[in-house]
């Protein structure tokens, strides 16, 4: 699974990245951040602080105005379109607005990243069932996601991001529409993935997610890291 990425350097390495949206909206400012392979990192900050923008830079949906973004040792600015697509198969993303296809049912939406990677159909089905079971959504398997409740949609989006057991998982506010119990299911899934080797970056306002854990946490404020964040100090992780 992790074959694309070398072991000896940060999986995500952001160096002095700045993102300015036209005309002059500075979303992320001169930010540096390294995320070790196998880490689980929380990204916090007020609404509009630049969390989503930072995640978009990491999965190459947006290009930085200045600075360098490296994922798995590759400078994204110098990576061709075909290779970016290859890379994205190894990165699962829970978008803040889900980006599900409302006419497809839950199973079809979750299967998408696996079909795109030409996985075996049986493998796909069993993975879909497994994820639906973990998130307690098995009874909604065949329902079009457009007809699900918002929280159910969010769980489908999370399952889709986890489907390929990606090397890197970016989750943007993954529990914003979930009650405490469902949020715990999601956190369990994330921790299980993390144990299996996935690196996670979770952007969230939900204090309860990280309150009682000692995961590293960096906080953005108006596009800058606040003082108590430790963006380039890599923790020691059991790997």
């Amino acid at each position: 699974m992790l074959k694309l990425f070398p072991d000896d350097r940060p999986l995500v390495d952001i160096v002095k990245a700045t993102k300015v949206y036209p005309p002059d909206i500075v979303a992320v400012q001169n930010i540096s951040l390294a995320v070790a392979k196998g880490e689980l990192l929380f990204l916090t900050g007020m609404s509009g602080a630049g969390k989503t923008t930072l995640l978009k830079l990491i999965c190459a949906i947006e290009q930085p105005t200045k600075g360098v973004i490296e994922v798995g040792g590759r400078d994204l600015a110098k990576t061709g379109s075909a290779e970016i697509q290859q890379l994205r198969q190894e990165i699962g993303v829970v978008y803040q607005d889900f980006k599900l296809l409302p006419k497809l049912n839950a199973a079809q939406n979750i299967a998408m990243p696996m079909e795109v990677a030409y996985r075996d159909q049986r493998e796909i089905n069993s993975r879909v069932d497994e994820l639906l079971a973990i998130l307690k959504m098995t009874h909604k398997r065949e329902i079009q996601t457009g007809k699900l409740s918002r929280g159910e949609q969010q769980r489908v989006a999370i399952a889709r991001a986890a489907a390929n057991s990606p090397a890197l998982l970016l989750a943007d506010e993954p529990t914003g529409n979930l009650d405490q119990d469902s949020a715990n299911l999601v956190m369990d899934l994330f921790e299980q993935l993390n144990r299996e080797g996935t690196t996670l970056i979770i952007a969230s306002h939900d204090e309860s997610l990280y309150r009682n854990s000692d995961y590293r946490r960096v906080q953005l404020e108006h596009g800058l890291f606040t003082n108590h964040s430790s963006p380039r100090q890599l923790p020691l992780i059991n790997q």
Binding site: I61, S81, V116, Y118
Partner: protein
């Protein structure tokens, strides 16, 4: 590869179930466009054909005061040829003209019993070259022939020719104008359909890109789809045209003049070219339509 093809074909089937109204609309667009295009091509080819046939009958007749002596004939021939090349130049004596008239009147031959050949004028018949079969040039040619020594009058079925010329010209203008309008309408239809297809696919394409679909994963089913639509649509369009053609021929079959002219359908090579061209265009178009979604 086998697995991948399976994925792509599955996608095609899936797309069709998902978007069949839009897909049917594109198919209809292709059918209608091909029908319209080939319809006007057929008309154009047949008008050209008929024009060529009718042109074969064309000749200018110079009526003379006196017969041209055989010795002088080459001289006059070459004089005419210096002005304009002719396929054939025929000298008709009084006697020959009388025999022709007798043949023409046949049954009413007795009307001529009182008359001798001297009643009819001798003439020169000029069959101009194809390139010369143009109304204004014929008029000029006729004016020139009138200056030949001994020429009394030049005839070339002016009235009939003018009317025929008028109709073919009118037909030509109508065909060209309707063709232009239809090209506009077709272009419009096609761009409309492409926009609708793209709108229908937009969010799906975006998400496919986001989960890491390769260009090939996205393009292959669209390519298949384009080919399918091109083949089906153009075949359907041509079949409809053939039906219309047969119907028209039967419908207009009452006239003898018409049967004489023998319409022709589009030859096989043209048909094949239309199907091939449409298929290529459709495949290319369906890839082109999502081009901008292929950038990251």
């Amino acid at each position: 590869m086998g697995l991948k093809s399976y994925f792509h074909l599955k996608q095609v089937g899936h797309n069709f179930r998902q978007n069949w109204p839009t897909q049917l609309m594109s198919l209809l667009t292709v059918t209608l466009s091909v029908l319209i295009f080939s319809f006007f091509l057929l008309i154009y080819l047949n008008v050209v054909n008929i024009g060529a046939r009718l042109g074969d009958e064309l000749r200018l007749v110079v009526y003379l005061d006196n017969e041209v002596e055989p010795a002088l004939q080459p001289l006059i021939s070459s004089k005419i040829s210096t002005y304009a090349k002719a396929d054939k130049i025929l000298f008709v004596s009084r006697a020959e003209a009388f025999i022709r008239l007798q043949k023409q009147l046949e049954k009413e031959k007795d009307l001529l019993t009182d008359l001798g050949p001297e009643f009819l004028p001798p003439s020169i018949e000029v069959y101009p070259e194809k390139s010369f079969r143009n109304f204004t040039r014929l008029k000029e040619f006729s004016d020139f022939l009138a200056t030949l020594p001994g020429a009394q009058k030049v005839q070339y079925g002016q009235e009939w020719l003018e009317r025929f010329g008028y109709f073919t010209e009118l037909l030509r203008v109508i065909v060209v104008l309707s063709g232009a309008l239809l090209v506009l309408a077709t272009g419009f239809m096609v761009s409309c359909t492409i926009r609708l297809t793209v709108v229908a696919k937009e969010s799906e394409l975006e998400i496919l890109r986001l989960v890491g679909a390769s260009n090939r994963y996205i393009q292959a089913p669209l390519f298949f789809e384009g080919i399918l639509q091109g083949v089906l649509g153009s075949s359907l369009g041509l079949t409809l045209l053939y039906a219309i053609f047969i119907w028209t021929r039967t419908h207009l079959g009452g006239s003898t003049f018409l049967n004489q002219l023998e319409y022709t359908f589009l030859p096989f090579s043209v048909t094949a070219m239309i199907i091939g061209g449409t298929t290529l265009l459709c495949a290319w178009g369906s890839l082109l339509s999502i081009r901008k979604h292929m950038r990251i």
